[in-house]
């Protein structure tokens, strides 16, 4: 590439020349922060041999909006709306993870009805997230929007439910320490039940459109293989870990909330490639539907908030807690350190997408640019959570 136009940038063009320390005819391409397939403002500096990736360095921080610093300057309750904006597709599970961490820190009990409602909302969120992910992944594969449109059609239905419950489509700010903010009405529950009944046929339609597609199989199978050992060591969690065959789901392992009362299965992959990650999510959605049906059936009456829980002027005792739940993207955890004051002394988010990105380079090496895009898509990142 010595005669390429990039070796002699005599003008002020923004194209950087081929780096001198790269051997042979390598080209360095900066994908992002503005790129259609980096799911926001993520950036990868990719070194290419032809179209094969020989080095890939992710660059973070383009959406680093100081979530933790802000949380340390505001009250415990004041951070709840900020958690909505971490992984802005799944505000309900973020809320729950944070509420759970605070409940562990201060030892607050949660009424049974609230635990059921949390499960219902978390599983709806999982449906929402996995549906959107499947749509975005197909978009990355080069579909002209059709699967994404179908996915968002379903997303809107779930968002309508969230909106009628919490008042906001995306930023629900619904969970509280020791319960939930409002009690879902019987009408709401009936609508949610109907949505769950209609979701199965939608999944069938979606799968009929995509799962057996020859091009999709060729594009995703064998691409971005991840071994179980590396996945565990690199802290990979969620569907991505289960796609490698590791049976690890916090809903079973920790058995938090009322999850031990429900019958559901954990789908496991064996190749750990993009197709497995896609299929594990599709199968998980079907299991979520099963959980939702059981949760609707078993929802008890009772208070939605623990009356002893204090929200305003809440000052937990000195100590710390790490609370985690199984979010749609993996283990989402909050590490809180209290010094006895009204604000947390330290507030840290264990963001699943951020840590799942650790092995991005390992997955992409030897693949082409086109593969890197779908590998990134299959990891399922949301930049609000990666950069916080």
């Amino acid at each position: 590439m010595n005669a390429s136009p990039f070796t002699n940038p005599s003008t002020g063009a923004h194209v950087r020349s081929v780096r001198s320390d790269l051997p042979g005819d390598l080209m360095e391409v900066s994908m992002g922060p503005h790129h259609p397939s980096t799911h926001g403002v993520f950036r990868m500096i990719v070194t290419l041999d032809g179209e094969t990736i020989v080095r890939l360095k992710p660059v973070f921080g383009y959406l680093h909006r100081n979530h933790e610093k802000l949380a340390e300057n505001t009250s415990y309750l004041g951070s709840m709306p900020y958690t909505d904006r971490l992984d802005y597709l799944n505000s309900m599970t973020n809320n729950w993870a944070y509420a759970r961490a605070v409940e562990q820190l201060a030892g607050i009990a949660v009424p049974e009805r609230a635990e059921y409602v949390r499960v219902i909302l978390a599983e709806l969120t999982r449906l929402l997230n996995h549906t959107c992910l499947a749509g975005f992944l197909m978009q990355d594969c080069g579909c002209s929007g059709t699967p994404l449109m179908y996915a968002f059609r379903e997303r809107e239905k779930i968002l309508d439910l969230f909106e009628s419950l919490s008042g906001s489509r995306m930023m629900c700010n619904y969970q509280r320490f020791g319960g939930c903010r409002v009690d879902p009405s019987a009408d709401w529950l009936a609508r949610a039940r109907q949505l769950v009944e209609e979701y199965g046929p939608f999944l069938d339609e979606f799968e009929a459109l995509l799962t057996g597609n020859e091009i999709l199989l060729a594009r995703t199978q064998g691409v971005g293989r991840l071994s179980a050992a590396l996945a565990i060591n690199a802290g990979v969690t969620g569907p991505m870990l289960r796609a490698t065959g590791v049976n690890h789901d916090l809903r079973k392992v920790d058995g938090y909330g009322v999850y031990p009362r429900f019958q559901f299965r954990i789908p496991l992959g064996e190749h750990g490639d993009v197709y497995d990650r896609y299929m594990i999510r599709i199968l998980e959605m079907r299991e979520s539907l099963a959980i939702l049906r059981q949760a609707f059936a078993g929802l008890p009456a009772g208070p939605i908030m623990n009356p002893a829980a204090k929200l305003r002027g809440f000052r937990p005792k000195v100590g710390e807690a790490y609370g985690r739940i199984e979010g749609p993207k993996g283990e989402i955890g909050f590490h809180l350190v209290s010094d006895g004051g009204p604000n947390p002394w330290r507030y840290h988010v264990r963001a699943p997408s951020f840590i799942n990105l650790t092995i991005l380079e390992d997955l992409c090496l030897g693949h082409t640019v086109a593969d890197a895009v779908i590998i990134l898509g299959s990891i399922d990142i949301v930049l609000g959570e990666v950069d916080r």
């Binding site: 973070f60 680093h64 201060a106 802290g235 807690a321 790490y322 955890g333 951020f354």
Partner: protein, 218 residues
């Protein structure tokens, strides 16, 4: 799983030179921690990962915590018998001391193989200015790679043995460590008409107090 005290004793037996302290957590979560010294931290971490009874194969979470220098008041209560023969008096003696500032890294370990956890590890730096080097646990758990970079970026803790210790969230030319408690953010904050709490405090810092002769606006 064995209790943390048993684990501490086992580590102390295996690494006699190591200084392992059990840091208790008074909150209801009761997630107690082991405070390791920097020199043996990586060896102990490797042991924790490979020991067949523990198999802490997943390092889930890595956090930094900043503890700036602070004044603590120790209250010692002594019971002084009343010379007059009455009930003994309790005398409170207050001593002030300066607790030196330090930076702390917290690792949360879990075992996927055996489904137990968390075991919390803590590493503490000497101070907040020059002795901020700690051993990196990235060679033991790959998951610490980005998280230690983040701690380095935001707190300024230097991890020795980290394969690629660069800033991760802030840009490369940035000089400060913004998650430290004494970080002063840039002055680009304009006054808002409805100040409350912190906003008001900042406005007071940024804009001069009205001169005595200036007519006050309603």
């Amino acid at each position: 799983m064995e209790t943390l005290t048993q684990l501490r004793d086992r580590i102390a037996a295996l690494f006699p030179a190591a200084d392992v302290v059990l840091a208790t957590n008074p909150s209801p979560s009761a997630q107690h921690a082991l405070r390791l010294d920097a020199t043996h931290a990586r060896a102990i971490a490797t042991f924790l990962r490979d020991d067949p009874a523990l198999q802490l194969d997943q390092c889930t979470n890595v956090t930094g915590i900043d503890w700036p220098e602070k004044e603590v008041v120790d209250v010692t209560r002594t019971t002084v018998p009343d010379p007059a023969g009455g009930a003994p008096r309790v005398v409170e003696e207050k001593t002030r001391r300066i607790e030196p500032g330090r930076l702390e890294v917290v690792y949360h370990l879990y075992s996927i193989a055996l489904s137990h956890g968390p075991v919390v590890l803590r590493l503490v730096t000497g101070n907040r200015t020059d002795a901020v080097t700690l051993p990196s646990l990235t060679p033991v758990w790959r998951s610490a790679e980005f998280q230690e970079r983040e701690v380095y970026d935001l707190f300024g803790i230097v991890f020795e043995g980290h394969p690629d210790l660069r800033r991760i969230l802030m840009w490369d030319g940035f000089k400060d460590h913004p998650m430290r408690r004494d970080y002063r953010e840039p002055d680009d904050y304009e006054w808002e008409p409805t100040p409350h709490g912190d906003v008001l405090a900042k406005a007071k810092q940024h804009y001069p107090a009205p001169a005595p002769s200036a007519p006050s606006t309603p």
